[in-house]
Amino acid sequence: MTDTRYTKEHEWIRLDGDAATVGITDYAQSQLGDIVFVEVPDSGKAIAKGGEAAVVESVKAASEVYAPVSGTVTEGNAGLGDAPDTVNSDPTGEGWFFKMTLSDAAEFDGLMDQAAYDAYLKEIDA
């Protein structure tokens, strides 16, 4: 059973058991536009909630991807090196950024669920 949560910075995190997968939302990719470069963290890297975890670049600008929760990276998506545009075409699937283990499950529970994120999107588009 998986559970997906969202941050105000438009990252998603999907928890499956005690392992999680992190990426950016469809809204985020549409705001960034055509993605031309992605830098993902190496396996074993410790990341702290809210800290810079990855970089995503469009033609125009570079943006940080923040860690939704604290923990340890177990895998970066190597496939994005040659095909960064996967983040545009499939942001919540093949376009994932990294997998991680959580050091504090309560941080996950504190994030927005789908309904709360949808409401948040409506608020910022208003």
Partner: protein, 377 residues
């Protein structure tokens, strides 16, 4: 994001309603609300311009006439470009200089088609308008500056631009690169220039604000044409090795350092007679201490403006002034200034991005061949 008060104070161009109806994403730029991209997106807008034709709203640029006795001769006291030998109907790219030889702005100066020696046409950068006009008035107090703030400027750029515009103005196809002439499009008086900021063949159309929307819509109805925003305008000019004022040059940069020596006429190099000529002629003969160069990162990661440039042993030798991804170059590209001893093409340098050294080679610019119109084939 700018607050709503800041947005409210922005100027709009005569094409504002058109941009919004096309779904443009509007951003503040040089005091104007401008389209940074349309639904097509920066990457496809860029590629479309290189493949067919793109329409840009560049109405934020400063258009003006300068009127005064033998104005081209007088204006040579402020710029290093050869203006006296410029023929009627021809355009010169040059720079307004300060007394230290630094660049106040880069601009286009044209002579009227009718041969009037007491008038020149100017196009200056949006963000520099007020500054430039003040410098021109202070330097040439006898001359009269006629601002054309009631005019829009459209740029139609790309290999199909000439095909498209020929449907509306049959004579544009034979116009030389860097020339202008008055014309009529859809019954409206315009001035058409064959120039641009993309490295492609193309035209700029100066038109009264009241008529701009209709002509822009007519151009957009042509099957080859897509609207293009500032995002792609920036990546197109970067690929073409063209400077952006305030980034790749500023009031401390000389035209020699900026690798714009080609824009200084032979007679001007011999005679001087422009602000900062002592420094500029010295740099011309002895070489500048730093030089604008093209930089090609070896990997996929782009280096952006502000990235420090180091030699492989770690000493800083320069800084990136424009950088990003070149959609046609299909990889990261940048330009920046380096100490002249490291400016030779083929030199391996490091660009410091997020604390890491990114390998890059100094390369000759442009990154993508320029395809200006050079006469009938």
């Amino acid at each position: 994001m700018p607050d709503s008060a800041a947005l409210d104070s922005l100027l709009t161009t005569p094409l504002d309603a058109l941009h919004r109806s096309l779904g443009a994403k509007m951003v503040p730029f040089a005091g104007y609300s401008m389209p940074v991209q349309y639904p097509l997106g920066v990457l496809k807008e860029h590629l479309h311009t290189r493949a067919a034709a793109g329409l840009f709203d560049v109405s934020h640029m400063g258009q003006a006439d300068l009127v005064g006795d033998a104005i081209a001769v007088a204006l040579e006291s402020l710029v290093p470009g050869e203006l006296q030998a410029l023929k009627p109907g021809r355009i010169r790219y040059t720079q307004l200089l300060n007394d230290d030889g630094g660049i106040i702005d880069d601009l286009m100066i044209a002579k009227p088609v009718d041969g009037d020696i007491n008038r020149v046409h100017l196009v200056v950068n949006a963000a520099c308008k007020d500054k430039d006009y003040a410098v021109l008035q202070a330097g040439l107090p006898e001359a009269k500056l006629e601002r054309k703030d009631d005019h829009a400027l459209l740029a139609l750029q790309g290999p199909e631009a000439v095909t498209v515009l020929s449907r509306l103005d049959t004579e544009c196809a034979s116009m030389p690169f860097m020339s202008l002439r008055p014309a009529t499009i859809n019954g409206v008086d315009v001035v058409i220039s064959r120039c641009g900021y993309t490295g492609e063949d193309g035209f700029e159309i100066s038109i009264s604000a009241a008529d701009a929307d209709a002509v822009a819509r007519t151009l957009l109805e042509q099957p080859e044409v897509e609207p293009i925003g500032l995002g792609a305008r920036d990546s197109l000019r970067l690929e073409s090795g063209l400077c952006l004022y305030g980034h790749d040059m500023d009031d401390e940069t000389s035209p020699i350092e900026a690798d714009l020596t080609w824009s200084i006429g032979k007679r001007r190099r011999a005679e001087g007679g422009f602000p900062g000529d002592a420094r500029i002629l010295k740099e011309l003969h002895e070489g500048p201490s730093r030089l604008r160069v093209g930089l090609k990162p070896i990997g996929r990661a782009p280096a952006r403006e502000g990235a420090v440039i180091e030699v492989p042993d770690g000493a800083a030798v320069g800084v990136v002034t424009s950088g990003g991804f070149g959609p046609t170059a299909e990889g990261p590209i940048a330009m920046g200034y380096v100490a002249t001893e490291h400016a030779k093409p083929g030199t391996r340098l490091h660009l410091i991005v997020r604390g890491k050294a990114l390998e890059a080679d100094v390369v000759a610019m442009p990154f993508v061949p320029q395809r200006y119109y050079r006469g009938s084939k």
